[in-house]
């Protein structure tokens, strides 16, 4: 197998295993990364919500926030891992696609 194909295989394996990034923190009762709390968590931690933070926090509504399809997961929590894998596949393909376009553009316009 060519090394490029091996790399893609490896990334596929990572995408398939990605729910570990969801399940392990849950199992060990670990919260979000430090400094990445939602507004409710901040209020709980500090007793108030910084005013500027409140204004900026919802600047952008991401289509798949937190790499999970919430509506789908709420119906069947067991499917949350599946939505995580789906996010991994979408993310991998979009990243690779955008990078290919940029690289091709750069090479072509040498």
């Amino acid at each position: 197998m060519k090394v490029v194909a091996k790399f893609w295989f490896f990334i596929g394996v990572l995408a398939a295993l990605s729910p570990l990034g969801l399940l392990l923190p849950e199992h060990f009762k670990a919260g979000p990364a430090w400094g990445e709390w939602g507004v409710d968590e901040i209020r709980e931690l500090t007793g108030y919500l910084p005013k500027g933070l409140e204004k900026l926090a919802n600047l952008w509504e991401a289509p798949v926030s937190d790499y999970t399809f919430k509506a789908w997961g709420q119906k069947r929590p067991a499917d949350l891992s599946l939505t995580y894998i789906l996010s991994a596949i979408i993310g991998v393909m979009v990243c690779a696609g955008v990078m290919l376009l940029i690289a091709k553009f750069l090479v072509k316009n040498k």
Partner: protein, 225 residues
């Protein structure tokens, strides 16, 4: 390490966008010159790899989570400038599609993870592996050390950016406007959790892949700029 919207004040956000603009321009110029057609698929893989490795949240039991970035590995294989572009792509997609990292903080997040990270890791690797043959164990060790140190450098930098906010922006009554934690909290917390846990994850991932490539594709480990 993906700073969300609302944690950095407008001055900090604007500053890092201004710093990143010339870096992105120079990176595209340099990559354009140095990139060979056969490296294009590797660059796409690099962006995809960085994206997916960041989904592996590692827990500190009862505490917070963190993750590797994979960027030192990319810098070793494709050079720091190409790594900078590949990680930027991953960070932009994460912010836009998945809400991981804020749009206002994107300049800062790119400066930390797509500039300081690959560059510091790359030069630490170069220094430690200086003159070592492609298949030597010193290269594997150098890759691990570079991953570990670079992630901690970036953790400290991120802690600094968080911690400066209460100094920069306060209400008249002294309440923080953005990140509520100052340097005395943000810096030691960010640094200690990366020194103790997440840095090791980056080190192991980087060293293992280099070890694997020494056997499978040593040609990828010859010098790249």
């Amino acid at each position: 390490m993906h700073i969300p919207d609302g944690y950095l004040g407008p001055a900090t956000c604007g500053f890092f966008y201004l710093v990143m603009l010339p870096i992105w321009m120079v990176a595209s110029k340099i990559v354009q010159k140095a990139l060979k057609a056969r490296q294009v698929p590797l660059l796409a893989i690099a962006a995809a790899f960085s994206f997916v490795i960041m989904m592996f949240n590692i827990p500190i039991p009862g505490g917070t989570t963190g993750h590797a970035i994979g960027g030192v590995l990319i810098a070793i294989l494709l050079g720091p400038w190409a790594a900078s572009i590949a990680i930027t792509v991953a960070l932009v997609i994460q912010a836009l599609l998945f809400g991981d990292g804020g749009l206002s903080a994107l300049g800062a997040n790119c400066f930390n993870m797509a500039f300081v990270f690959p560059f510091s890791g790359y030069y630490i690797y170069k220094a430690v592996s200086y003159n070592a043959p492609v298949i030597s164990n010193r290269r594997v060790v150098a890759a691990g050390i570079a991953g570990y140190l670079a992630l901690n450098i970036v953790a400290a930098l991120t802690g600094l950016e968080f911690g400066l906010q209460p100094l920069l922006h306060r209400t008249a009554s002294g309440q923080a406007l953005y990140c509520p934690y100052g340097l005395n909290v943000a810096l030691p917390v960010m640094l200690s959790e990366h020194l103790l846990v997440f840095g090791w994850v980056e080190a192991i991932v980087t060293a293992l892949v280099i070890k694997y490539l020494q056997k499978q594709a040593p040609e990828l480990l010859t010098e790249s700029k």
